[in-house]
Subunit: 412 residues, 3 copies
């Protein structure tokens, strides 16, 4: 299952089938391939409604169909596997057992490579098997997530139609951008359909929710009125489920929950950046926002919407709805997300760079921490419990060496 | 009507029809879109043989089919409209009245946008209608132009054929380059077929006149012998109307009027620049020129034609014919054009940057000045007369604020 | 005959035909077009098994089908012709006699251009004809070469198949790179099939010999054991003649002769460079090498194979086999090649920059030196004999002016 523009709506398909599985291959050219892996794993678990799922295929090392098929670094095979496990996979399988001497896949990596059983890859596979033997307690446990990201397959499709205001608009790009900053903040998320039950989540992010049907719009509003915190990015709420613009100004069915309307889209030129108060800057897009209840949070300093609001917050019922009208990147987006999470009462302490931390909870309440150190420096974590691989006790200063993984049954 | 490589020869079509009209849309990514608008308007008027014409469509703000559909800035809707009017349009219409909620054009701007009657666009449309109500005196007046630019549809077509000496050759690019520098110099031009009556023009520019039939060649020669000043750029006069090379050296039927022949084309490498005496430099093309009557004006300092003439002037009869054998850009081309205009007895005083000035003359001799300030600074113009919008007198120090337009009935 | 990926295996075709000929046109955008000309001429002669061959077509100046059809510089027509002659062509013909006034080739250069008999091109053709009249002694003589480069059409084909480890792998690119550095070192080479008789060569280079059948592998091994020096670049010996990977680690049938195996390919990212001990650096590719008899010559300083061997040398029988596991460019590759040639007992004195020197030997042992100065500075060469163009004696300090050619019958 690829998570670029999907050809079927998995939200509608998933409830009809018994086992949710994924084939996952890294995009080797991306230095953040491990973050994209986490995103795909979280999406797969979300399709499974939180139940355990099967990683049907991934590769021990390089594949053979990308432009440059970079080999996995030492330990990367195990880190990838454990990240899938952390995010709910209860079965993890490789393609392929033995490297083939013939045919189109002869340069695809294998558990047993052409170089044979003396190879690093083979030995890392054996080690991973040993580790897995110690992890049976995690089977059937659920991943803990208090934040949701809206993933709308229909928005994805509709936004790919011709005659959009700007070729720089991309549903997938915004999903990845929001997810990546949440990952860096150490926040585990579920993906949700915009019409899903949102009551359990402290905050919901809706990046590029272009298409919105009436029931989903009402669902988002009810979530906010009931005390939830919603954050929406530009080019959301633009059309209904028939690809028609709701009567009146943009953003149609989101006007009331966001407390604003848009007089005119102000897309930016190729490469253009606009400055925003508070020290950030945006690209691709701006809006001419007319406030109708919302409060401005930051303003544009220059560009076609100079002087107008850039980010807004609308208090509604017991909750609030945020809007960001430009493309923020990296730490600027991370800072916006952090402000939204704070508004939702979540205090985020970002983990050390490159450290992935996910909690799985068993039916009996036992909590398991999977900690994966993707960085090249050792880190120390606070995790009082038992290391499942060794059976030894861990404490408030537990070492996770560079490149290593720990699975810890937490005390209490 | 697009003015990139046209699919019909408008010169042959226009005399057969009653009303000449144009649909015009800015190329939003070009910062000089207002200059290209003027070029297209001048070409439309030239097809109409100077008679008034109809702007059948343009847009109030953004379109929906370009890569990034940039909205028009405040006042741009009026500046665009008045530039069409200045250059001979007696009717100016928008596409579309009301923004559609459905279908492929739902993101195309409209006089009445999705945002409704409180919007800036709607209010600017209303203001433009009020202004237009004061301008009925201009109806039927003619645009004043003393310089012509040769536009040959057949050259356009022939130059697009395969197997040209360089992919960097472009008929359209040279037409735009010459027009743009003439615009900056404040010189209003007509476009002409190379076989047209040229007697009324002080100077005629022929950029990239690749194909030339015998009658047109004789027409250009008669123009020069009769006292006209002609300026021709490289890769002109190369083939006849059957796409055949005339016998003997290039430039075939232009050899005698230019007073030179070309021993060998010397196209340049990608990105290569050659220095020319007098401080300019060229790209794309050079020729090995053998003088045969013409005088060298400037020489190549380096490149494959180092030491040979770069620009030449041939005195012939009562006039003269200039040749420029390399691609000049920006101010270097402007300077070349200025020298040609000076040779033609025209003294050019360039307007302030971004100021467009065009004169329309009524049948009774009344002269109207349309002044459009495209810049972000106010300018003062010398225009003694009456402002048609206000009915107030104007003088030798009349203000045209940044972004504004004036239409003045000139005294005397 | 183009020498990019060939559509037939000339090695199998050539023995069946009576006359080997080539059509050769410079790639005008390449500043090293004269080196590529030499490569193609050497390949043509190699197909003819060293016998004289026919240059059926080349151009007096520009062609008309490349993006920018750069004209030949003064003297280039003769230098190109004499380079073909130096490398074994006994007949040299131009396309075309007279420039056509009509059709697709009217901008293709000709011996008699549109500009007529006063032109430089025509006069250079006449001069070349006069020179050729003095060179009949060379007819039938053979080119002297003591180094061979393996050119495997089947490797070419097989490497173009889909699903390669990296899109940056290119058989042609490595052939050109090795040839270019040998040219700069002044070393004349024959091209050979990997199964050819190699006994006469001091050194054999095999760049990107991806596919290797069993007989050819045995042939290379026998060459080394018999005292030859072989140098192989990365991604060689990977598959057999059925595109299957030989059992065991890469490089399959080259493991024993190279004295090493490869545990895993480590292709590099786009633009990535790795440092190598000894001051060079590589791109595109590295291997995790496991030595099995070979000695390391240089090591990787960084990158995915950091600390492992980068270049190796295996002493085997009376000879040796070198391996280079990364893409070296320019002088770094020249230096590697020079080390291999030194190992083969060849002392190379590189000629002055841009000087091409080739020896042809007649059946009676008479030796002819063709010296072509492609540079813009005069050079002096040591050539005691007789200049065939003038009949005058030459000596140990014979001038070859910038851009000029000398053909000298050497004394003794």
């Amino acid at each position: 299952m690829a998570t670029s523009c999907p050809s079927v709506d998995y939200w509608r398909w998933a409830p009809e089938i018994d086992i949710i599985s994924n084939d996952h291959y890294l995009t080797a050219s991306r230095l953040d391939a491990h973050v994209m892996l986490a995103m795909d794993a979280d999406f797969t678990r979300s399709l499974a409604a939180g139940r355990p799922w099967v990683l049907m295929e991934h590769s021990p090392s390089a594949v053979n169909w990308q432009p440059r098929n970079i080999a996995k670094r030492p330990g990367e095979l195990a880190r990838n596997s454990m990240s899938h496990l952390a995010r709910g996979a209860d079965a993890i399988m490789f393609f392929q057992f033995r490297a083939s001497r013939f045919g189109a896949e002869k340069f695809h990596s294998a558990m047993l490579p052409h170089a044979g059983r003396s190879s690093r890859v083979w030995n890392e596979v054996v080690e991973l098997g040993e580790l897995a033997g110690h992890l049976s307690e995690l089977r059937g446990s659920r991943v803990e997530a208090s934040v949701a990201v809206v993933w709308s397959t229909e928005s994805f499709w509709a936004q790919e139609l011709e005659w959009r205001p700007s070729v720089d608009l991309s549903h997938r790009e915004r999903l990845e951008a929001f997810y990546s900053e949440l990952w860096k903040l150490g926040v585990t998320v579920d993906f949700v359909h915009p019409g899903a039950d949102l009551l359990g989540y402290h905050a919901v992010f809706a990046p590029a929710l272009y298409l919105l049907d009436e029931a989903s719009a009402a669902n988002l509003r009810a979530y906010v009125e009931g005390g939830g915190v919603l954050a929406v990015s530009y080019f959301s709420g633009i059309v209904d489920e028939f690809d028609a613009v709701p009567a009146g100004p943009f953003p149609g069915r989101l006007r009331e929950v966001l407390g604003l309307s848009i007089e005119e889209f102000q897309p930016l030129r190729e490469g253009e950046r606009v400055a925003v108060t508070g020290g950030s800057s945006g690209s691709v897009w701006t809006d001419e926002i007319v406030l109708d209840g919302a409060e401005p949070v930051e303003h544009y300093i220059d560009g076609p919407a100079a002087g107008l609001p850039a980010f807004t917050r609308n208090a509604l019922g017991d909750g609030s709805a945020w809007y960001v009208s430009t493309k923020l990147d990296g730490s600027a987006l991370g800072s916006f997300i952090d402000d939204v999470l704070t508004d939702a009462g979540l205090t985020v302490v970002p983990p050390p760079t490159g450290l992935e931390r996910v909690i799985r909870v068993a039916d009996d309440g036992t909590r398991f921490l999977v900690a994966i150190n993707h960085a090249e420096a050792d880190v120390v974590i606070d995790a009082v419990g038992t290391d499942l691989a060794t059976g030894e006790a861990t404490d408030a200063a537990t070492l996770v060496p560079a490149g290593a993984t720990r699975v810890i049954r937490l005390d209490g």
